[in-house]
């Protein structure tokens, strides 16, 4: 907060005035938004969700009364530290490329004996999804500061990447939108929100490394699946099925493009 305040002090006004002329506002507006985002970084409510996610991970549940602590997120059973930075990946036991949430459903099914269906079908604000969002907050938090290291070594990983790249550019719906419509050029924004240019390493990193994130606008903890779901909503597409291949393919495309960047999860966003 103090770091931000030094810069902001310059704008300090004793009494409210400042009806600034619009033509000079472009840079000032963007500077202000930057200051706003900086101020948010200091206290991220995602921490509250990380705590409840950790509880969910460690508390026995389901027909088998087991915790998720033996879940293999790719680095071996029970290894959480750094696992999120290496997802999505191919898992031999399912012979599928899975993202975090898809893998969690596998573990809930195999270790805890839970039926994944209610988790897949529930809305993102319903209790089953609240569990997923909290788990995603916790597990992604355990990869904070880790380098993104996604491999395309397995043929199914490469195929998923290729599908994701094609999905990214696939136009449809009444507005002709693809992911690329908004994320396919450098340096643009919607309203005042900067749009990462996903096909570049920098843009993919800006997107991939900061989700899951706490959304201040709704006071909600959003997993990557929720982020993608809402992109498709705004794109006027039909709804993507939770943990469906289209969502995992897009994640694979983004994560692999972001390789080498540092995870900043969980993030905090507008």
């Amino acid at each position: 907060m103090d770091r931000a305040s030094v810069g902001i002090m310059a704008f300090l006004m004793v009494s409210a005035t400042a009806v600034t002329v619009a033509y000079a506002q472009k840079d000032a507006a963007q500077d202000s938004i930057e200051a706003y985002r900086e101020a948010l970084q200091d206290g991220n409510p995602a921490e509250l969700y990380e705590a409840s996610g950790e509880d969910l991970w460690k508390t026995p549940a389901g027909p088998k009364a087991a915790s998720l602590e033996r879940c293999d997120l790719g680095l071996g059973p029970g290894v959480v530290k750094g696992a999120y930075a290496q997802l999505p990946r191919h898992f031999a036991d399912t012979d599928r490329v899975q993202d975090l949430e898809s893998r969690l459903l596998t573990c809930m099914q195999t270790l805890q004996g839970k039926d994944p269906k209610p988790y897949i079908e529930a809305s993102f604000t319903a209790p089953p999804k609240e569990e997923m969002n909290a788990l995603a907050a916790y597990i992604s938090g355990q990869s904070k500061d880790a380098p993104i290291a996604v491999t395309l070594a397995h043929p199914k990983e490469q195929a998923m990447y290729d599908l994701g790249k094609r999905m990214f550019n696939y136009q449809g719906g009444p507005y002709d939108f693809a992911c690329a419509t908004c994320h396919g050029q450098e340096g643009t924004r919607i309203r005042l929100q900067d749009l990462p240019y996903i096909p570049s390493a920098k843009g993919a990193a800006a997107g991939w490394s900061s989700w899951p994130a706490y959304r201040v606008s709704a006071g909600q903890m959003w997993s990557m699946q929720w982020r993608l779901n809402d992109c498709f909503r705004q794109q006027r597409f039909p709804e993507p099925v939770y943990t469906s291949d289209a969502t995992i393919a897009l994640s694979m495309y983004m994560a692999a493009t972001a390789n080498g960047a540092t995870m900043k999860t969980p993030g905090i966003k507008r």
Binding site: D42, G43, P45, E47, L48, A51, G219
Partner: protein, 103 residues
């Protein structure tokens, strides 16, 4: 009971900086649900912070404080290991106290 708070307290140059995240809906009473019914107001209205057992801050809040509130302030004195405790009470009478040691 609410969910546990996240409390951080760090001592530097004779000043203890206290940062608190609280899990609370902070419902204003102005919003409506999908069926058009008003969602009743539900918000933390009193917060007390203590450093080493001594009250250093007592706040009154209204529904304009954001969901999952964040509060940061500084107190002269304090040393590593001092206990920081924060208590909130909401307008339904629910209350929660959490503690952390200053570092």
């Amino acid at each position: 009971m609410g969910s546990p708070m996240k409390i951080r307290a760090s001592v530097k140059d004779g000043v203890t900086e206290i940062k608190v995240l609280m899990g609370h809906e902070m419902e204003t009473g102005q919003r409506k649900d999908a069926n058009g019914a008003v969602i009743p107001a539900w918000f933390i209205n009193e917060v007390t912070a203590k450093l080493d057992g001594k009250t250093v801050m007592q706040a009154q809040w209204g529904p304009s404080i954001s969901k999952n509130p964040y509060l940061a302030f500084k107190v002269k004195g304090g040393k590593a290991g001092d206990k920081v405790s924060v208590t909130w009470v909401d307008n339904k009478g629910d209350t929660r106290t959490d503690e952390a040691a200053a570092t």
